[in-house]
Subunit: 125 residues, 2 copies
């Protein structure tokens, strides 16, 4: 049995290589992708592959910072570099009983100014 | 030996209860907190407790959505509710060999409009 950590490592390796066959083989037929920030949702393997292929038509690459897997859940932190620079991408994965990815919840935090209310409590790095 | 999952569950329970003694007991002496979006950093247990006590002087509560732990790493997704509403908070934790929290990397994604370039590939939820 492949661990959730290994499934997510294979997911990012396949995405980075644009190996959409390998990518699709990791997904449940009825996989659901959700981007809570824009409340975007994609349902089904074919639609989700199309979202990845057609939704990001520019040169990009990513580096994995962390993958944590436990049972049928995992989380990843990648750094995604595209035309607008590098941005962290954070995903939570729920796997089905057969080890396929059933739910992906995807977050893209953006830079902001440090709140003045806590400036005396932090340093900058 | 307490698992990374259990350490992070205890971390959020202590924060939610404002039990700063229990919270501090989970932290390494030289714990480092980083918020990459504003490049904020706090070093050391006492400074990090003070950051939590003094940095958020309003009524707030949180609910844990996911905790995933593996070895000396963990990730969490909480929903934080304060005066401005509810927002997801995503943390990656690195534990020291003794199980204390040594590094916290904390992300706060914000809502955005769905990109027009991929609107035909998604539905809204």
């Amino acid at each position: 049995m492949t661990s959730a950590h290994e499934v997510v490592a294979a997911y990012w390796a396949a995405a980075g290589a644009r190996d959409w066959n390998a990518f699709g083989a990791l997904l449940a037929d009825d996989v659901i992708y959700r981007g809570p920030q824009a409340r975007e949702q994609v349902r089904g393997r074919d639609s989700y592959i199309r979202f990845n292929v057609e939704g990001f038509r520019y040169d990009w690459h990513l580096t994995v910072q962390r993958i944590v897997g436990e049972g049928q859940r995992a989380a990843s932190w990648v750094e995604f570099t595209g035309p607008e620079g590098t941005q962290p991408g954070l995903c939570f994965f729920d796997l089905a009983g057969d080890g396929k990815i059933a739910l992906i919840t995807d977050f893209w935090p953006e830079p902001y100014e440090p709140p003045a209310s806590r400036a005396h409590l932090v340093e900058r790095y």
